[in-house]
């Protein structure tokens, strides 16, 4: 189980941006890195963090924002409200 801050950290790590950039910086500082490869890097890290519980969640491959990912994880009871 992770929380929203953990998710942001995972995304920052996956996109190889400095910690805090997503929560405090401008969207333009990181959004270009969220391409197909960046998206897969996020899902791979997330799956690792959640002990392989994400691999079967097909909706994640179409979730292109942190809020969308968070919504899916909450529905699957993998994220604290």
């Amino acid at each position: 189980m992770i929380n929203y801050d953990n998710l942001v950290e995972i995304v920052e790590e996956a996109l190889e941006v400095k910690p805090g950039v997503i929560s405090k910086g401008k969207k333009s500082d990181w959004v270009e890195k969220w391409d197909s490869l960046g998206h897969l890097a996020i899902l791979t890290k997330l799956d690792l963090q959640l002990d392989g519980q994400c691999a079967e969640i097909t909706e994640l491959s179409e979730a292109y924002s942190i809020d969308q990912i968070a919504k899916i994880l909450r529905q699957k009871k993998l994220m604290i409200e």
Partner: protein, 240 residues
Amino acid sequence: MEKINFISPSDQSINFDLKLSPLTFKPTATSSFLIKGICSSTKKTVENLLDLGCGIGVVGICLMKHKIAKNLYASDLSSEAVKMTKHNCLNNNIHVDCKISDIFNNWNDYKFDIIANDISGVAQEIASVSDWFKNIPSNSGPDGTRNIISVIKKSKNFLKSKGVLYFPIISLSNSDKILDTAKKEFKIVNKISSNPWFLPEEMMKYIDLLQSQAYKGNIFFEQKFGKIICYTDIYEAKNF
């Protein structure tokens, strides 16, 4: 002629313009993974860098902008690729000794500190149904290993004693066979990075073919998040 601005995958402040040709490969993710791998594992500027399978010259130009080497050499089997590499190097103020060469055929008597090999391959049956080789011949054999294995076997003759070969292995080829060859030819073979990527949607209709190729051991992929995931791993090989 189409032009792109290429941003270094290792440092976004390094970017430069490249002209493309319909007869050569556009810079691919493999080229970016290779650049990133070499930048992360090369600590000091070396003398001679060979960009093998140079295409339009992206790997060599980018590595020169990162000051990985003092002198750039490049080659490709395609005369159009050689023409484009020369053109792009000139436009980026980089001197290059670039020639047509079938792998190392025209590099006799040369020794390099770094060989950045961007010649790879995918299993023939996968290549033939994909859009990846439009206008460009794919002759890497049934399991996609023919060209890369040839590079690995010959490259030690073109490396200085402290030279390093960098090469990609795409999981749509027989990765184990390529890696076994590298381990026979070199004392040290290290994986520098593993880079997953989604197989494009248009390839999903060939799932039966993909599965039969995987069953034969010609390729490897995973199914996760409702998609097919392949890998491009970057390796370094050296004899010191």
